[in-house]
Symmetry: D2
Subunit: 371 residues, 4 copies
């Protein structure tokens, strides 16, 4: 290990804590600056709690980007953990300052914003990691690898759903319930985009058109708390995607199943050390993280022997670890880290879902960037 | 027990064996007649294998209906286990002979046929049981009861899917692959109608409109091997239904989840002794068959203590047992046995699915009978 | 099928109902006689409920054995479902009358009694089936086959336990709590002997010595409600056996794990369609009933496709079906039906457990018959 | 957060990496010194890889203890991750230098050594954490709390087993196979002591006597690869403990079940976010980490919402986090961190197991310290 990568943070709350744990786990990063709040007193106390130099604690991200860019010992990279509507302006400020970006999903609240960021990233030559953390799970990478190797044959069905129950009643939404802060998509933007990315990442297949139905069950809520779609893929596969935040008895039940002409697999985020796999005509197998048949892509993302459970934070940290390799110019295995392109494609998916649902389920093509 | 009910059978094959086991398990029926084949030699040998009086073994169902109706010791009821296209004509023959009918699903291959049978049943005063066997599971009845009692609050989401893999390759379809024998629906008619009935039975809610997508993945196959739909219920609930016979690693993975404002539940046909239930804000519970909190509806369908697994045949036999009560004029608990109305509604569902898919997913209302 | 085998029953209660369902499921037997009670009125009403000829309903087993033996159309076989203390005298009466016997476990309440029955069986040339029903599960037979084929290599560990909770409080024991009726073993005699037989059947290995500890937790109870032992096998394997009827949250949690130098397997009676199997160094596999890799021994015991659950009654019925083959002189696959030898060996195990526990865990050899 | 606690490390290998991740996750520690190898070149390169000041990288622990104790900015605490035989001498050196100790289990390779450390700890007033990491799982703490509150009633049965397969063949033992480095216990010392501590921690009950059987299956291996015991507790409960490193298909299958007069619970380390709990007569519940009914003891050990899996590293880090509170004089919830007393009691257990097995299973009392 060379010296840790100097990192700063903009934002706070629960996701801020998650990002900090992910930064620390493997020792690749050192948090040295932050804009945790626009309130000076809260910013100061957050900085103190994190043992930061008070001179590196800011109350606005613009100043932070400028000053950190100007320092010899300035941050190499910033992590953005604010409400959605600020992702793009903050990312823009740091990209323009030549600072790499780690951004919470969604990349922005519109495809237009996302495409603008994409252009900026290309222009400034910085790197951007979008923390679609589920792609950090070894089992997910193994699934991706099995499909890339053709183990499943011709893909036919892609089924992904994400069920939670924490919005079954009104009142817990916070900024996620406010379209001005969250953007136009509720459950869709919060977890639907994760479900989409998981399927996208594992299958490497693109949705041709989708037919969507969004709904809000809880009275007074402004954004969808349920969204589903039927999917048609470009290569002829079919699929479905369904997300709900009003499904009692589910916490973070994100599940993916993929079926092809020669085999099938399924994954459940709540038991992430297992990938279930069957070759057509053979018994169902439990592929364990770091167990028999593991390959480079998943072993590299595994820290512990099989049977010593890894979880959400390890997957999150894996993205940070892979991104550290990338920042250092080292070559990790072929892992396709979620980046600004992923972010644009995700927004294209979200906007296609919204448009289709507004058109009563008309089959709609996501406007994936083509250049 | 009074003397067993005299029963005859038309058809054979695997479902014939299942029905015979279901008839025998509880001792309510005695098989004494059958039309197992139009080939005299095969009919004779089947009858012999079943220890039947050769005089009660027929080579056509018309003769069987006439002669059995004419005998003092004729059958009370016939079970029909032929390919789909014969269900309606055979049922008609026995109904017109005044003989009760137990019929495999689907009731017929068109709604029109089904409605005609419904009129006949009413006219002749016979009883008809449609063997939607999953409604014989105690856990399914308990789920229905919990919903009827309002335990889940206002229903919001209904999710049902049925995945198999036995048609992942061409060649195993048998009569199920021939539209002339199976009707116009493939996976949809074979297992989709079961998925629909399970959701219909448990929720007691009616689909207002659906948007469907059917597909055939295996080259040369004439009927769909995959079907899915988004659902909108009359009371505002939403849902989805998905069936596939090309999902490697799945045998008979029929699953139902129902979520409401105050709780949720899910059921997996491959582990049928458990119903998973959560009140919003409480831990997830495993409700075991014949375990704590069981009620009349599910206890009546349970033969063994909790932990001694019951399965598919017991659920099948339960329909037979309940129907025996009905034939004898005894009153079982409020169990809503699948009947000719269920059959008509199922065909209305199937035809709505076909129509919607042919219209590229246009939202379509099932033509449920209204009188 | 030739005509059904004529069967009679002595005893009643829950196990009587189970045996009758098992007799009926496959159509091999017809119940035509019984001694259900020594009370004439109760005997009569039981016979009527079962639709029996009143002349074939008896109030004592001695008369029944004599009269049925004397009839041209007398029973071929009797099933004994009484409390334990009557197994031996009833079996003796029917054996001496030349009638085959199906007997609930344990065969008797002492090894001495069991050995006497064994001599009688040999002398009279009748067949005796001991209903250790768990050996009727296809997964159990497949486990046995894998071990016989050497798939697990040299056996090292055998672990079996059976946990229930229905005796967690005093008062539900019925005759099982009375040493005069149940014999000297409580949980040990009721479920310990099942656990022993399951391990014995699957592994085909004999216990050399065991060290046992029995205990009674519930005040006022006369017999053990918990029993455990460490096991040493003749070929060097080690093991453990543990049974409890005071383990809240368990219904009939009978589990077996066997490990060898080249692989391991485990089975859980509450999910009997699955056998979990791993070759050393390969992923864990779920071997499904009637799924890939099934062999003659388990296919023959399977009635339904994989994924349509079979359960306790099907396993029970399988013993009846296999015994019907045996009675008819047909050769079923090599299935080693539990018989009078199994019964003697089981009693030898029980008595070794009792003796070891009374000697504070002294290593004790079961007095398995040697001729 | 005040400044991180300065920590050093003696040892390396896999457990060294685990400890370093655990130190980093919550940001409470900063690793600034280490004796990673007695080979100067390897020590230097390890230090460099960890970005340490070369002056703080040592080649022997004695020098490290002296010099660090002498520095103003010396380490507050050392973590010992060497083979077992060095735990005691290294701990002694740091304790005598007034430096707190975090020590891998087992505390030492003999009870005598452990008792000597205990006296030293008392004399020097330092704190010692023994990393029995499974006691860091929230579900384990919740189980402990349920039992302390009497929810299970009078305890009756304690069942713990730990199955692995990585020593199914000869050759992978490393220092764990050498009695001079590992001590006299093989599987027993490696994982048996974890199983013991898990049961000890959760139940708070002490073993009165045990009857043990140890065995070595793999030819040429010097230490046990299998150990089991029957347990009798001081308050009348019974139990069993079983560990194996030769059970194919198992990775780290550590399971605990506890049953009492009013309820039962079980825990599986491979699915550590769940605690299964049943009140006698009520349905089985899945108590989720951070889910309904969580209490102070487990919430404090939880970093993420229910359904976002935590695992082994989080539990490990929890001990570090709790110990940081303790070092800072803050009061964490009543969590009973494993300490030098735990270490002595663990060695007493190990020695009782060895003695009992050597006496052919004689009931033996662990020589738990009594003052």
């Amino acid at each position: 290990m060379t010296a840790p990568i100097r990192i700063g943070m903009v934002g706070g709350g629960f996701m801020g804590r998650v990002h900090r744990m992910a930064q620390r786990l493997d020792g690749d990063y050192q948090l040295i600056a932050g804009a945790f709040s626009s309130d000076p007193e809260r910013a100061r106390s957050s900085g103190k709690a994190l043992n930061l130099d008070p001179a590196r604690v800011y109350t606005d991200f613009t100043t932070m980007a400028e000053r950190e860019a100007a320092r010899e010992d300035g941050i190499h990279v910033v992590s953005i953990v604010t409400p959605n509507h600020l992702h793009a302006p903050i990312a823009q400020a740091f990209i323009e300052a030549g600072i790499h970006v780690i951004c919470e999903k969604p990349l922005s609240i519109s495809l237009e914003e996302a495409m603008a960021l994409r252009a900026l990233v290309r222009r400034h030559g910085v790197q951007l990691l979008l923390t679609h953390n589920y792609s950090g799970y070894p089992a997910v990478r193994r699934a991706r690898q099995l499909i890339r190797e053709g183990t499943l044959g011709e893909l036919r069905l892609v089924e992904v759903d994400y069920a939670q129950d924490w919005l079954s009643e009104a009142g817990s939404e916070g900024w996620r319930g406010d379209p001005a802060l969250a953007g136009p998509a509720g459950a869709l933007g919060d977890i639907g985009i994760h479900a989409w990315q998981l399927a996208d990442y594992v299958t490497g297949r693109e949705i041709d058109t989708l037919s969507a139905d969004l709904h809000t069950f809880v009275a007074g809520r402004q954004l969808d708390d349920f969204a589903q779609a039927m999917l048609r893929y470009r290569d002829g596969a079919r699929g479905r995607l369904s997300v709900s935040q009003v499904s009692p008895g589910n916490n973070n039940r994100l599940r993916l199943a993929v079926y092809g002409s020669r085999g099938g697999l399924h994954f459940d985020q709540e038991s992430p050390d297992a990938l279930w796999f069957a070759r057509l005509g053979d018994p169902l197998q439990r592929l364990s993280r770091n167990g028999p048949g593991s390959g480079a892509a998943d072993l590299q993302a595994s820290r512990l022997p099989a049977g010593h459970p890894e979880g959400y934070l390890e997957a999150f940290a894996q993205l940070y670890r892979d991104f550290a390799c990338s920042l250092r110019g080292e070559a990790p295995p072929d892992i396709a880290l979620p980046d600004v392109d992923t972010g644009c494609r995700g927004l294209a998916f979200v906007e296609a879902m919204l448009a289709s649902s507004q058109s009563n389920g008309a089959w709609t093509a996501p406007a994936y960037p083509t250049d």
